[in-house]
Amino acid sequence: MDNRITDETVEEMAALAKLELSENSLTLVRADMEQLLDYIARMEELDATNVEPLYAIGANECPLREDLITNDDGREQAMDNAPATTGELFVVPSSF
């Protein structure tokens, strides 16, 4: 696979990852990604046509529990590290 990527692709990925790219860094980041993709593309040498992907080790079933709230007294604690709250709600800038 040709691992050369366009500036647009890099910008698209950065937008998905919610990371800002300064104008100066775009070229550097693109070169960086190309080098990394080149490296992991070595997997192409392997024929894995009929191989089942392994998503997780030893995960056969997800253990279930009763659908009961067991920690409803943790609100204050949970909000303690928040940058801005009303006491009950997290406060964020609006999205427009």
Binding site: M1, A17, E20, M33, P53, L54, I57
Partner: protein, 504 residues
């Protein structure tokens, strides 16, 4: 009494026999910290007040004879990606610089119940992404043996704290080698248990299918004891299965502290020698194009020869999938990281860079909060999970993971244990590795297979190279064979194979 060289279990014995007080031990540890911390920087946060309070409680327990475990009263350091209630937990990142968890990680809770004292939180590569502890937002940690060299990573602070006598044991985490490699670089034991045996609840996630809590210790018996008190199935971690019959680990550390052993010194008795008879050891064959330092190769060969001398059957093992496995690791780990680190958005905790609009706030916060290596891996993860690349990279990596795991499964049909290097080199100098990320990633070749297959592995210190830098060798076993692995590591010690290199 000079107890700084004691192992955790030995110290526990002296404490419980009331030959020293817990407070005295803490005084000595802090004296050592004050002596070396400025140079080494093992810790991000020290909890002087809190730990003396813990010490008082444990001392009362000791006096009344209600001793919770053989490790009670022993000071331990904790890698800063494990949540400690009320004690700042930064994960080595600006994003969590002031984060104070409202809960303990399950493994921390277990060790508190066992009476261990948490001295502080150790330095680490940012979000556990790195192999040198140089990507930490809080500055580097230096190798206690030679401070112009790295301690390894990402659990460099934990490894260095034990090597430098700033803790008697340490918790670390291992996603691609981050316990075993710094252990090798610093000359201590580094044990990564089977995936799922130690709960990840409260471990700040990097790559959830690969992360595992591990231990830094001065000997194998200490790792066995730590494992015993932490390998309990935890309902708060859906991937946690624990280890059946953890009491079997007791045999290892009880043998270590038994009166008989103390009297006999280094005597290696018949029954212990027989344990290796007939054991099948696979010694890793050289991989073409991969240069392992002569001192490391020599150590691996020597350990193999000693096993053979003890009656083990040692044969060469030639893996075919390890190099591809490393490519797959550097596809899967960044992919999982890009997902896990999506939670850092400045809303509920952590850094926030205020902006007028919500998405601008996300962008500004994340760009400011994450360092270069973290941003690199998040971007790479985003790439491999994106529509155009998913099949070629992520899906392919999942298949390579299957191939690698199957190959290792077959290997453990032939062998009881695999023996080989931990890394290609001993600790490099500071400032070298970050210049070439791919070169740095290649250093994880020998450690990532155990994470990819969820298998236990341990780094055993085996002397030093010609520069005086510590050398480690790695033993690996099949899933849930943690006890056999620790037992063999313990035998290495008894036979004088391994030796800590702790220049304090």
């Amino acid at each position: 009494m000079n107890f700084s060289d004691m192992t955790a279990l030995q110290l526990g014995q002296y404490l419980h026999q009331k030959e020293i007080a817990v407070g005295e031990v803490l005084d000595a540890v802090f004296e050592q910290i004050d002596k070396r911390e400025e140079e080494l920087h093992c810790y991000i946060t020290l909890d002087r007040e809190g730990v003396y309070r813990q010490a008082e409680r444990i001392q009362s327990c000791i006096l009344t004879g209600e001793i919770p475990s053989p490790l009670a009263g022993v000071p331990i350091s904790v890698k800063d990606n494990l949540c400690t209630k009320g004690l700042r937990t930064t994960c080595g990142t600006a994003m969590l610089e002031n984060f104070v968890p409202p809960y303990d990680a399950s493994v921390v809770e277990r060790l508190r119940e066992a009476g261990m004292l948490i001295i502080g939180k150790t330095n680490m590569d940012e979000f556990a992404m790195g192999s040198t502890t140089e990507t930490s937002y809080f500055g580097v940690t230096r190798n206690p043996t030679d401070p112009s060299h790295v301690p390894g990573g990402s659990s460099g602070g934990s490894a260095a704290s034990v090597a430098a006598g700033e803790a008697f044991a340490a918790l670390g985490t291992d996603t691609g080698g981050s316990v075993r490699q710094p252990a090798a670089y610093c000359g201590v034991y580094g044990f990564k248990p089977t995936y799922g045996t130690v709960s990840r609840y409260g471990l700040i996630a990097y790559a959830s299918s690969l992360d595992q809590v591990g231990f830094f210790t001065k000997d194998a018996a200490d790792s066995a004891a730590l494992m015993q008190y932490t390998c309990i199935r935890d309902r708060k971690d859906a991937t946690s299965v624990g280890l059946s019959d953890p009491g079997m680990l007791e045999k290892i550390w009880k043998a270590a502290i038994s009166k008989e052993r103390q009297n006999q010194g280094e005597l290696f008795d018949e029954s212990t020698a027989n344990r290796m008879k007939g054991k099948r050891i696979g010694i890793l064959k050289e991989i073409p194009g991969v240069n392992v330092a002569p001192a490391i190769q020599k150590a691996v060969r020597e350990v193999g020869a000693i096993f053979e001398g003890m009656g083990a059957e040692v044969e060469e093992y030639e893996p075919t999938m390890w190099e591809y496995g490393l490519c797959a690791y550097y596809t899967i780990a960044p992919a999982e990281a890009s997902s896990n680190l999506g939670r850092y958005d400045g809303v509920k905790y952590g850094l926030r860079k205020d902006r007028e609009e919500l998405h601008d706030m996300y962008l500004a916060t994340r760009t400011a909060g994450f360092g270069e290596e973290v941003r690199r891996r998040i971007l790479l993860g985003t790439f491999v999970l994106s529509r155009s690349y998913y099949d070629a990279y992520y899906q392919k990596a999942m298949k390579v993971r299957r191939l690698l795991t199957d190959e290792l499964g077959r290997a453990f049909g032939r062998f009881d244990l695999l023996l080989g290097p931990v890394s290609q080199q001993t600790a490099p100098k500071l400032g070298v590795c970050l210049q070439d990320p791919v070169q740095m990633y290649l250093g994880d070749l020998f450690t990532t297979p155990a994470n990819m297959a969820g298998m236990p592995a341990i780094s055993i210190p085996c002397g030093c190279d010609e520069k005086g830098l510590p050398v480690g060798v790695q033993l690996m076993a099949d899933r849930f064979r943690d006890k056999e692995l620790l037992q063999t590591a313990y035998l290495c010690e008894r036979k004088g194979i391994s030796c800590r290199n702790t220049k304090q």
